[in-house]
Symmetry: C2
Amino acid sequence: MRYHRIPDETVRRLPVYLRGALHLSRGGVASASSKELADLIGVEPWQIRKDFSYFGDFGKPGVGYDLRTLVRRVSKVLRLDTRQKAALVGVGNLGSALLTYPEFRIYGVAIVSAFDIDPGKIGRTKAGVLIEDMAALGGLNTRDIHLGILAVPEAASQEVTDALVRTGIRGILNFAPRRIAVPRGVKTITIGIAMHLARLPYYLPGGGR
Amino acid sequence: MRYHRIPDETVRRLPVYLRGALHLSRGGVASASSKELADLIGVEPWQIRKDFSYFGDFGKPGVGYDLRTLVRRVSKVLRLDTRQKAALVGVGNLGSALLTYPEFRIYGVAIVSAFDIDPGKIGRTKAGVLIEDMAALGGLNTRDIHLGILAVPEAASQEVTDALVRTGIRGILNFAPRRIAVPRGVKTITIGIAMHLARLPYYLPGGGR
DNA sequence: GTTTGTGAATAGTTTCACAGCA
DNA sequence: TGCTGTGAAACTATTCACAAAC
């Protein structure tokens, strides 16, 4: 195995592989070949082998991958081997849905803190998480929380981002429909839900493009 | 201008440009250069010019792009020049949030139909949309609905997808955390919310990768 | 002078095909 | 024999730099 930088596209696929491996593993399967894994999750086997080769060398020729090892190695690369905590900002419709979203558990990421600006929500508890006043956003640095989930209206997104960065957040999952500015060393991933829906019609058949 | 196939990555960025252009246009601005647009939305100017060059030729050297023209051309390419209708399946927490999601309006896409399996929800109205019985999913082909939004649990996703395809849906925005199988001619875009969050820790600083 | 549109150069990603290990 | 790991080839996308248009 050679020490390559791991391509971003590979990093993007790792959670997919991890989910598939966990699924098989929990079903009692001990090992799987790249082909079996690929068929399960809908990619090509060589893609999986190539991706694994960047941090590599835990497959056995003639056999496949030991799933426990696979899960451990991929988790470690993604830093999901230690439990990650996230703070949610914006407990509106989307934020509320995220608070109860079951999928985060699989990856060992938990929303442990929530903030909103609405006095009607502040002080209440949702999905076991106390909703705090956004004006008092802070102290996350001392609580080992380094991930933020941004589910506020566009107009507030940059301001809230700045507050998150000040209190030590180093990774932000952003649902506001625009790029947010962050200093070097802070990573943002923007999910533009409406933008994804908006490009779907392009691919509709007929109409002669 | 030459007739290139438009790269997928360009198609992905078009809704971003469209949103920026609409924003400026509504603020009373008549035209903008690639640099102005780029600064607004956080990309590089040459990227915008290159992207536009694929379906091209509506900028004026020395001046920039007329925003009305830009909006019209990009909308046409994305097929957002005619109002698009979407059906939502799964009115849980996430589905409910999507029903009230204001961003879809900007692109002229509307959720006009919703389905669920829960008898407690069927027959009720949410955000002005009647929730119908998922068992009766059909007839969308006669209602000019060709987009589907899938917000059901993973276990139901393939089955529901098949039903959607049978009733004429040709584009699916999938929130279930796995690839869904569709026949040729049907496009799916999967948004794996948890998977995006799961790759965020990889980019956290420190830890010596 | 300013800004577009685009070939050419560079960078990044996917796919192939096969040597080598179990 | 079956499957991994990986160079090399093919493909796709980004970035540059500049001639032409206004």
